[in-house]
């Protein structure tokens, strides 16, 4: 019974789609659904959070997000640079895809 149903589903899905197969780059993102991911964004911003949804533009909804903004301060007098980071937490966040630079599966460090 179940075998027939799954065979039918597989047949309907077409020859190239098996559920865990990685064929195109976005499949890597699909496999990260419900996992914690790292997202690098324009403007020296980084996010770590659980991926709940995405689309082909890389619009995303993330949960339990931690955002890190890297700010470089230049001291005019001594001409030295200092880097500081600002962290904040957002429980549920929609991210517009046009700011996304890269999406990475959860790294052990994060």
């Amino acid at each position: 019974m179940t075998d027939v149903a799954s065979a039918n589903a597989a047949a309907a899905a077409g020859p190239t789609s098996s559920f865990s197969m990685v064929e195109e780059p976005l499949d890597l993102v699909r496999l990260s659904l419900d996992e914690r991911i790292y997202v690098k964004l324009r403007g020296d911003r980084e996010l770590r959070g659980r991926l709940h949804a995405y689309d082909q533009h890389l619009n995303m909804v993330l949960g339990e997000v931690e955002e890190t903004i890297t700010i470089v301060d230049v001291d005019e007098e001594s001409n030295t640079q200092s880097v500081r980071t600002v962290n904040r937490k957002v429980p549920m966040l929609f991210v517009r895809g046009d700011g996304v630079i890269l999406v990475s599966p959860p790294s052990r460090a994060s």
């Binding site: 020859p15 190239t16 995405y54 517009r96 700011g99």
Partner: protein, 108 residues
């Protein structure tokens, strides 16, 4: 269309729209369109001391392309439903690509 549908479920909810110029606007989502333009009502700028220009603005339209983030209230978001919808969307866009004439590699 996934996020258009998603934001339609958020109409009437309190959201905070953060723009690419760092302005953050808190308000009630009034409507959304396919470009993810938003109409907000009863708005309040989050950091009014830094952005006093909008004190008298109560309703506004935000062009989708200037949005960086939208902060949502977690209880209003069905995450399981979202994940299912994302998987379905991924499959349907993939099938559209497969409908184009290209040779599928043999399945191992």
């Amino acid at each position: 269309m996934l996020f258009y549908s998603f934001f339609k479920t958020q109409v009437g909810q309190h959201v905070t729209v953060e723009l690419k110029n760092d302005l953050a606007i808190q308000g009630v989502l009034e409507s959304v369109d396919q470009f993810l333009n938003f109409k907000l009502k009863d708005i309040k700028v989050v950091d009014e001391e830094r952005y006093p220009h909008m004190l008298s603005v109560k309703n506004c339209f935000v062009r989708g392309s200037v949005v960086r983030y939208v902060q949502l209230s977690p209880p209003t978001v069905d995450t399981a439903l979202l994940q299912d919808a994302a998987r379905r969307e991924a499959q349907s866009t993939q099938q559209m690509q497969q409908a184009k004439p290209n040779v599928a590699p043999p399945v191992a």
